[in-house]
Every structure is written in C-alpha cells, then in structure tokens.
C-alpha cells in the first residue's frame, strides 16, 4: 500500500494551484450559479379578487403588499377581501352550485378536472418559478415536488368524479355538500390549492378559496388555467387577504363546509366559528413529528431521510420530522455524520437550481424561529448550526440542530416551522414510542430500522396520522394524509379524501 497518504494510485497529478487538479476540482465544486430564468413569469403591479370568473377590485378598495422573501423587495399589490367581497364570492359559488355544477353529468366534471391537470403540466415551469419567487422555496422543490403533485392531485380526483358510487358502497348515495370554504397555508401554496380544490370539485361542490396572505400569486395564476379550461364561472372563487378575510370566510353563514390547513391556534378559532354555523369541518394543523432511528437502520440512508424529513422546504412543513430520536448505541456516530452531511446543504437564492434550502417565507416567521432558538439556548440546549454563508438580503436561516434536550424542553414541544431539528436519544422501542407520543400533536412519524416486525409494531403504537417506514415526506395523491389529536382531523388524498366532500344519503 502506498506510503503517501495523499497519493493513492501512481502520482499522476499536478498538485495544488488553479492549474493543478486540485484547482480544477475547486472550480467544479463551487458549482457556478445555475439560475432559473424569471422571464417566464409576468408579475403584474396589482391583482384583484376572482369572483364568478372575473377579476375585480375589493369593494372597499383595500389592498396589501406582497414581497419576495429572498430579497425583501416589493413584488406586487393584492386586493384584500372584506366581508362584502366574501359575501359576493359565496353567492357566486352558491349560484354556480345550484345552476351548473351540482347537476352536471359527473363525467363532464371529470373532463374539466383533467383539463386543469393538463394545463398545470403545460405551464409547470411558470408555476414553479412563480412559487419560488413568491414563497422562497428552492426551485428544485417547486419544480420537482409542488407543481407535479398539484397536477397529480387533479388527475387523481378527475378519475374519481364519475366513479363516486364505487367509492361509497353499501346502500348509500354520495351527494355533494354545497359551497366549500377552503383556507390554505403559505408553505405549499399551489399544491395545497390542488389538494383542496380537486376532491371538492370532483364530488360536485363549488369553492371559495383563500390563499395565504404571503403567497397568493400561484393561486391567482391558477385562475388563468381555470379560465382556459372554461370552468363555469363561480365554480371556483378566490378571495385574497389576511386573517380578517379568513375569519369572514370561515364563519360565513352561506357555506356548507370549511377545510382549513394551517396553525393549530387558527384551527381552534375556526372550530369555534363553525360550531355555530353548522358547516362541516376538516382541519390539517401543526405537528411536532418524530423521526426514530434504530441501531439496525441503514445508517447512510437514514441520514438522508432525516435531512429530507426536516430540511425539506426550509422546515416549513406541517409534518416536518422536527424531533429526531436516536437509539443511544448509535447516537454519537449518527449525530456526527448528520452534521457533516448538513454542512453540504446549500442555502441561498431559491431560483438557483443547486439551492437546497431557500428563503424563510416571511420576516415574521424568521423572527419566530430565532425566538424559539433563543429559548432553547437559554434552557441549556447545545446548538449546532451549519456554517453556510447566508445571502446579505432577504430572510434566511441556516439549518440548525439542538441536542442535549429532552421532552421537557420547549424546543422539543413547540412547532418551530423552520429548519430546526431537536435531537434526543432512547434505549428501547417502548421508550422510543413513549417519547414520540409525548406531544399534543399527531401528524406524522418516521421509523428507520431494517427489522420488519419492529416497523409494524411501531406503526401500531405511534399516535400519528401517517407513519413512514425507512422514508419520510412521501406524498402521493392516492395516499391519504392527515392528523389526529391537535394536528386536526379529516384526510386528504386517496379515497378517504372524498369523505370530506360528500354527504351520504340512504338509498333505501
């Protein structure tokens, strides 16, 4: 074997410097910027509401600013819907429901949904770029995850539209509910719109959709697709705005159903509001999901899985695996190797195709994340933070891991909704389950082990809506997603996703 640690084969190289192989390697590994062009999107200076198939200003003329989180620069101004605007949107949806959509032949409803799915695919790049500009997520994720999944949901539920009698068997007839109010978050704007719209429309309901205040643009771009698909006016209406718009919509007397994805706090207030209106409700709320790694896990893949589980979309994921539970026998090695891996994550411009972690969605969210990190430090947690250089402008947070914490620390209990992982250890499967379940939430969990029996046992014990085995953050339109306990109720995706949008009439 070679004496010289730096020369393995036969000394073919030219040594250091920019002309030697080390210099060439350095030029390569710096990955020159690979920016996705912004020119495919046109962002207008103003946007209105979309009601009954037409764009209109808010009645009171109110509007709010939308900014690019990667730079902090102003992007556009968007109309803010008041109670009167929400009334108009609900009335338009009601009229479309009663006069067109409810009684349309199901196969025809399916045709519209297929058309929408295809049009999203055709304009995929435009949607992806706009999503990254408006929300700060890496273009790799908007291009490879958000937009393809949005189209996939429309395709999937288009298929169900004329097969509902086979989804609900046993002497019942599925009927639409009426007008659905759908309020969606800022972490997956277009994808959440698709998750909500597709099953509602497939079942024959009409919709008033409210996108999140900081990420309205892809929902507004979707109106162009709906128009091109010739969806009858009023079947989908979009009201933009903040908390007051959301409250006006959720508590509206003219709606039959509320579907909300967002924080547990807002979810509680919506549940209170709908208690007095009689509208049906599904909630997909926060989480503090656990990723559990056993000593017999495939370690290199588990590390990648943990990275995907917490740092996907800057950790702005309701089911983010924000608690890492490591079996003690491997904890030290796993932790060292995880940190080495995290050093390789590239934080920066969301439009660079090589960016792994983009911008935090808003200044407010960044502040909240940093505040919880401060609390963790003050409670004695050890902090590791990636040495990645952050862009000078915009809102960024380097990937962070807290160790030396247990179930009594706030960082292991509260949802951060950012790129922050809290790491703990366990000794036995029973202890792993106890720690994983020590949360008011119950959205998701991940289990890494090579042992099939252990996976099955764990998935029975974990109180979570979704348990991923040797993977994390796997989404598919055919697979139901949703939580239990303070993570909400109701399922989206799969056949179960239809349950939230029908009422079952006895056929006898």
């Amino acid at each position: 074997m070679n004496e010289n640690a730096t020369s393995n084969m036969t000394g073919t190289t030219g040594g250091a410097g920019t002309t030697g192989v080390a210099g060439v390697a350095k030029r390569f590994t710096e990955y020159a910027p690979a920016l996705e062009s912004r020119s495919i999107v046109t962002i207008r200076s103003e946007y209105g509401l979309w009601i009954a198939g037409e764009e209109r200003d808010a009645e009171a003329g109110a509007a709010f600013d939308s900014v690019d989180p990667a730079t902090g620069q102003h992007l556009t101004r968007i109309a803010e819907a008041s109670q009167a605007d929400v009334d108009a949107a609900v009335a338009a949806a009601r009229s479309a429901y009663e006069n067109v959509w409810r009684d349309m032949a199901p196969a025809n409803r399916a045709r519209y949904l297929f058309r929408i799915a295809r049009l999203i695919q055709e304009r995929a790049r435009e949607f992806a770029v706009l999503e990254s500009i408006d929300g700060g997520k890496p273009i790799r994720e908007s291009r490879d995850v958000d937009v393809p999944l949005a189209a996939a949901h429309f395709f999937y539920y288009a298929g169900w539209a004329d097969k509902l009698p086979w989804a609900f068997t046993g002497g019942v007839i599925p009927r639409p509910l009426g007008v659905a109010a759908q309020i969606i978050p800022w972490n997956f704007p277009l994808m959440m719109a698709a998750w909500k719209l597709a099953p509602a429309l497939a079942c024959g309901n009409t919709v008033v959709l409210k996108p999140a205040e900081t990420t309205s643009l892809t929902a507004l771009l979707l109106t162009e697709v709906l128009t091109e698909a010739e969806l009858p006016p009023g079947v989908v209406n979009i009201v933009t705005g903040g908390a007051s718009t959301g409250a006006a919509l959720a508590g509206h007397r003219g709606i039959d159903k509320v579907a909300f994805t967002g924080s547990t706090e807002v979810g509680r207030s919506i549940r209170r509001a709908t208690a007095t209106t009689g509208a049906r409700l599904t909630l997909e709320l926060g989480g503090k999901s656990a990723q559990i790694v056993f000593e017999d896990a495939p370690m290199d893949q588990a590390i990648e899985g943990v990275v995907r589980g917490i740092w996907f979309n800057q950790g702005h994921v309701c089911c983010a695996g924000s608690r890492l539970l490591l079996q003690e026998s491997i904890a030290e090695e796993f932790s060292e190797r995880l940190q080495r891996r995290v050093e390789g994550l590239k934080v920066g411009d969301p439009l660079d195709k090589n960016t792994d972690i983009g911008a935090i969605n808003s200044a407010e969210q960044l502040e909240k994340i940093e505040e919880l990190c401060e609390v963790a430090l003050s409670e004695g947690a050890r902090m590791y933070r990636s040495s990645a250089t952050l862009p000078a402008q915009g809102w960024y947070c380097a990937p962070t891991i807290f160790s030396g914490v247990d179930t009594s620390h706030r960082i292991t209990n509260e949802e951060v909704f950012g790129p922050v992982l809290a790491q703990m250890t366990f000794r036995t499967p029973a202890e792993a389950v106890a720690k994983a379940n020590a949360t008011p939430y119950g959205l998701a969990a991940g289990v890494w082990t090579d042992n099939g029996a252990k996976i099955l046992w764990m998935s029975q014990q974990l109180r979570a809506g979704v348990v991923w085995a040797n993977s994390y953050n796997q989404f598919d339109p055919a697979s139901p997603f949703g939580g239990m306990r303070e993570s909400g109720f109701g399922r989206e995706g799969g056949r179960s996703g239809l349950d939230s949008y029908v009422t079952l009439e006895d056929a006898s």
Partner: protein, 311 residues
C-alpha cells in the same frame, strides 16, 4: 465492528470479522442518487467537470480483437486527447489486456499516462488462483502500473467471504509496487447490501481502488451503485483512517453523465476524491463526447462527430 485507530494510510489488512456489514435501503439509496442527479453544473463548473473527466479517465480497450496497432493508437489519444488543443490534459491511464502491456508501456513512456492492465483471468476470474496470480505477476513484470482484478463472485455468493478476502490479499502481494484495483462486478452480486459488503471486503483486503464492473455484462455502473460504493468508502475511511479510490466503469458515455458522477463523488466523499489518484472513469466512448463539449465551450458551436478522432 471494532473501530480502528485512525492512521495515515494504515497498511495492515482488516480481517473480515472486523469489517462493518451494513444494511442498505434500496429505495432511499436510489432516491438520494436521483437527487444528486438534479444538480445543475453550468459555466465554469461545467468546464472544470470536463477537464476532471479527462484527467480521471482510464481509456480502455478490452477486446479479443485488440492488436498492437490499436493499443498504440489508444496510447496516442491518451497522451493528446485533442490534437487541435495542446492545453487539453492527458488522461490518467490506458487500460489493456496483459499481453499488450509492453506495447502500451513503451507508447506512453515519458508522459504522465499510466498503464493499467486487467489481470487474473479477467473478466470471469474462473481460473485457479495460481494462474490468476501468475497473470498479475506477468503484467507487473511487463511494466503495468496498475492491476485491475475481479473478485471471486462464486466464493462471495456462496458465502465464503474469507476466501474472497484471502485471494484479494494474495493479488495485492503479487502486485508488488503496482496498485490494485478490485472489480466487484456489481451486476452479478444481486443487491446493494451485497455490493456494500463486497466493497468492505475488497477494501479490508488492501485494495487501493474498488471498481464497479468489467463492462462485459449488462449491468455496470449506475448512480445508485456508485453511491453505495462511495458510502462504503466513506465509512471504511472513518473506521480505519485509510482512503480508498473509486473507479466507475461501463455505460458512462456522455459528459453530462460524467459530471453527475463527479457531483455524487464530491458530495459523498469530498473534493479530495476529484483527483485521478482517487477516482477514475473506465470508458472508451466517453472521451469523444467530452471533446465535443470542450470544443463547444471554446468555439461556441458543436463540432461534427466526424471531426473527432476515431478509436
């Protein structure tokens, strides 16, 4: 499983019992390999990737019809891959059958290009150990700098890991000063776990480089297989302090494919491996595609394939 003290290129072999045998999750491995393939290599990084690909290439001819004339032509290309561009670096090595080592040694004399030879009853390895060792010794005596051997897949698949280890150890001894590149023939091993375990055995037995395949069967280097082996090298280095090289062979035909493998190696093993001492492509057709990309970068237009030398 014992963690050995790190040392600068520890020279002692690691016995089979002391090697870590890991499970591998195929789906997660494939997902990671796919993700690495989404890196976008542009501008100067792309130029650097082309240059690294040439510098890390074992220009190979392994055919029954090989002649001295063909090997001479290959050696000329290895020294001057682009006759129109003197700034183009030479490739790392030429790789030939043992009977043609002498021809190649003479032809590359005075250049940095090394001579590698497949030896040890390549590609099946189905011959007596004495014959295989003799094959190696002859190639080394004829001047080969590097020896590419195959592992005993029959022994591996029947569970005789000690035999696999012992034979590689013997081959290493037969190499003397020449460097040993051990081919796992991944397409015959059946699973990622087997590939990872074979990697560990080959490294434990003292291979300087582990190599995917002979190029003689359908399955050869793929991104998940390369990742699996790179992860094994990473763990072996962490446990023993010894770095081992990686050679990918078979099916790598385009500059773009090559640059994605460079990404995979960089992000799994680190930039130290982006060096012909630690990383090689075994290929023949790849060189011309890299040449096309290089000429495009310098002239702004694509050359015709007919403008390039033929092998």
């Amino acid at each position: 499983m014992t963690k050995l003290p790190p040392s600068s290129q520890n020279r002692d072999p690691v016995p089979v019992a002391a090697l870590r045998r890991r499970t591998v999750d195929a789906y997660a491995l494939e997902a990671r390999a796919k993700e690495l393939g989404t890196r976008s290599i542009k501008a100067d990084s792309q130029a650097a990737a082309n240059e690294l690909t040439i510098r890390c290439m074992d220009l190979t001819t392994l055919e029954g019809a090989d002649t001295a004339g063909r090997v001479l032509a290959l050696c000329n290309r290895a020294r001057h891959p682009d006759p129109t561009d003197p700034s183009c670096p030479p490739v790392a090595a030429v790789c030939v059958y043992p009977s043609l080592v002498r021809v190649a040694v003479e032809a590359v004399a005075g250049s940095t290009v090394k001579v590698a030879s497949v030896a040890g009853a390549f590609p099946s390895g189905q011959s007596s150990l004495a014959n295989r060792l003799d094959d190696i010794a002859t190639a080394v005596a004829d001047g080969a700098d590097e020896i590419d051997i195959v592992i005993n897949r029959g022994a591996f698949l029947s569970g005789d890991y000690e035999l696999v280890h012992a034979e590689i150890l013997a081959a290493k001894a037969a190499c003397g000063q020449a460097h040993l590149k051990t081919i796992l023939e991944v397409g015959e091993l059946g699973s990622f776990e087997a590939i990872r375990w074979a990697s560990m055995i080959a490294m434990g037995a003292g291979s300087d480089v582990i190599k995917t395949s002979t190029g003689k069967i359908g399955v050869s280097a793929t991104p998940p297989i390369a990742l699996c082996m790179a992860e094994a090298i990473r763990e072996f280095e962490a446990d023993t302090g010894r770095s081992v090289g990686l050679k990918l062979a078979g099916g790598i035909r385009t500059a773009k494919q090559a640059s994605h493998y460079l990404v995979l190696v960089n992000e799994t093993l680190g930039s130290k491996w982006l060096d012909p001492d630690w990383f090689r492509f075994g290929a023949s057709g790849l060189l011309n595609d890299v040449m096309l990309q290089r000429r495009f970068r310098s002239s702004g237009r694509y050359a015709r394939p007919s403008d390039l030398p033929v092998d």
